[in-house]
Subunit: 101 residues, 2 copies
DNA sequence: CTACCGATATTGCTAACCGATATAGTACTT
DNA sequence: AAGTACTATATCGGTTAGCAATATCGGTAG
């Protein structure tokens, strides 16, 4: 349906954005992404979260909620500056592709 | 400088957009992309163009210009509908990440 | 103590990425 | 007509990402 190779970058930006607003965890972000039309499988999402953490954009802590373990992720400073740069690039894309000067 | 894994999708959208406006060729699109802050090497760009053609988003023809061979790419109908979908997804991203409701 | 459930993690294969390097095609020079 | 220069495209090869399917974990309730 949606060709993922175009949009996986969007997904990463969504993730960091949400993680900048509040702690997020895997299953939650999967359904959040689904609301935006992105069907991401666990085999894609979890390794992606691990990489984003490994590369310094996110950090995590484990918590027990309703008797179930969750791994909450939040954006680091590097994640926030990544997000700021993303906004610039998105606006570039909008100016070019959508505004139709 | 720019973390490519976030932006390679943007690059592909730029490419299809330009190829929908006029015929484009590799070296030209490389400098166009550089103007948007994307430094893409030939080893990334050419295989990418080949895939976009293989997958039906672009088609090409060879021409001799100023004594040099160029391979001009243009967007197919499928490329155009990809572009339309990209615009929707971009606007989603803008609403979410930038508009700060 | 075990069955269950929400949630995260891993496996194994395929495909993409990308710097470096090679190749192709034309024109100009001599 | 062979050599050189220039522009442009193409490939190589090692590394990493993507992904569906499967496995595992941690806690609670019965």
């Amino acid at each position: 349906m949606i060709d993922r190779e175009f949009f996986l970058g969007f997904v990463k930006i969504h993730i960091i954005y949400h993680a900048s607003k509040e702690p997020i965890f895997g299953v939650e972000i999967m359904s959040e992404l689904a609301r935006h039309g992105y069907d991401i499988s666990p085999g894609t999402l979890y390794p992606m979260l691990h990489r984003l953490e490994r590369d310094g954009y996110l950090f995590s802590n484990r918590e027990i909620v309703g008797g179930k373990m969750r791994k909450y992720y939040r954006a680091t400073d590097e994640g926030l500056s990544m997000l700021a740069q993303s906004k610039k690039q998105i606006m570039e894309l909008v100016k070019e592709v959508i505004d139709e000067k």
